[in-house]
């Protein structure tokens, strides 16, 4: 680029000076012959297909975030509305069907029967353990403090 903004031609110096020798001029003429080659039509078709192919390879979130016809900020309220809809759907009371009520009652009855049975067994276990323990505790303490004589043994046996 020259200082006046003009493109320098091949062979021309950067300061705008013309080519120096006849060979330079000839080289310039030859360069002028070398046009930029036209890309083959097959390549052009391949290049045109790139956007379509690349879009197909995007994952769902890339497609979601990809710039569409509208501005991107539209996504924010759209996402908020979708979340709100899901929340409302989850929070709203649902009326159970008759079958579900019957099944729930049946399950509850079974659960209570198990709890009852477990309660009875636990009670028996507690009685068995605590009863024996209490008897031993009282008897052992008494025998420690009351003098055990031959007389008392006889009394005990009679």
């Amino acid at each position: 680029m020259t200082q006046d903004g003009r493109e320098t031609r091949p062979g021309e110096q950067g300061d705008g000076a013309p080519a120096e020798t006849p060979l330079d001029r000839e080289l310039d003429a030859l360069f002028a012959q070398l046009d930029i080659e036209r890309a083959p039509p097959g390549l052009t078709r391949r290049l045109y297909r790139i956007p379509q192919e690349q879009r197909g390879r995007r994952s769902w979130w890339q497609r979601l975030l990809a710039p569409g016809p509208g501005p991107r900020w539209v996504l924010v309220p759209a996402l908020a509305v979708a979340l709100l809809a899901v929340g409302v759907a989850l929070m709203s009371p649902r009326q159970p069907s008759q079958e579900e009520i019957f099944q729930a009652r049946h399950d509850l009855a079974v659960a209570f029967s198990y709890i009852d049975r477990a309660g009875v067994l636990t009670g028996q276990e507690i009685q068995a353990v605590l009863g024996g323990e209490l008897r031993h505790t009282v008897k052992d303490n008494l025998s420690k403090h009351i003098p055990f004589t031959e007389q008392s043994r006889k009394e005990e046996t009679t």
């Binding site: 091949p10 062979g11 060979l23 080289l27 070398l34 080659e37 036209r38 083959p40 790139i50």
Partner: protein, 162 residues
């Protein structure tokens, strides 16, 4: 966005293609390299300054071509390619058109970065600044290297002139 991309294809495909052809000397590979460069352009379009699309694309195309050449010529062949290419024999008394063909071969015979420099500057008519940006060279380096490249071509031309 797709329309804009199509516009870029129309505008720059020939330049990318010519550069790839000069570097790879193989039509099929040059097409693949161009396609790869444009795929990168599509993927990075949001990150590229719209004013710098052309130098960006040329740089990527060139780098992709050089990668392919390195893969193609892993050791000795790559060095041979670096050194020189076989140019056609002297064309004593050749016509102007034949000289044009000779020049193409001579450009192919240049080593890097001289070859890319000549293609970008003398064939594509890019500005020095743009060439410097594509090749990641300073402006003085571009001018010096271009001078060297032209000197080589001039000397070869002197040999084939009748």
């Amino acid at each position: 966005m797709s329309r804009k991309f199509r516009q870029w294809v129309d505008e720059y495909q020939d330049q990318a293609w010519t550069l790839a052809r000069y570097l790879l000397k193989d039509s099929a590979e040059a097409q693949d390299a161009c396609q790869e460069a444009f795929v990168k352009l599509w993927k990075n379009q949001d990150r590229i300054d719209p004013e710098r699309i052309r130098p960006w694309l040329m740089k990527v195309t060139r780098n992709l071509c050089l990668d392919r050449l390195r893969r193609r010529h892993p050791t000795q062949e790559w060095q041979e390619w670096q050194q020189a290419d076989e140019s056609p024999g002297p064309m004593q008394g050749a016509e102007q058109q034949q000289l044009g063909e000779w020049l193409k071969h001579s450009i192919n015979g240049l080593t890097e970065p001289y070859r890319s420099l000549v293609v970008l500057r003398d064939v594509h008519q890019h500005s020095y600044e743009e060439v410097a940006s594509v090749l990641e060279l300073s402006l003085p380096q571009v001018k010096v290297y271009l001078h060297r490249a032209r000197k080589q071509l001039r000397e070869q031309l002197a040999e084939v002139r009748p």
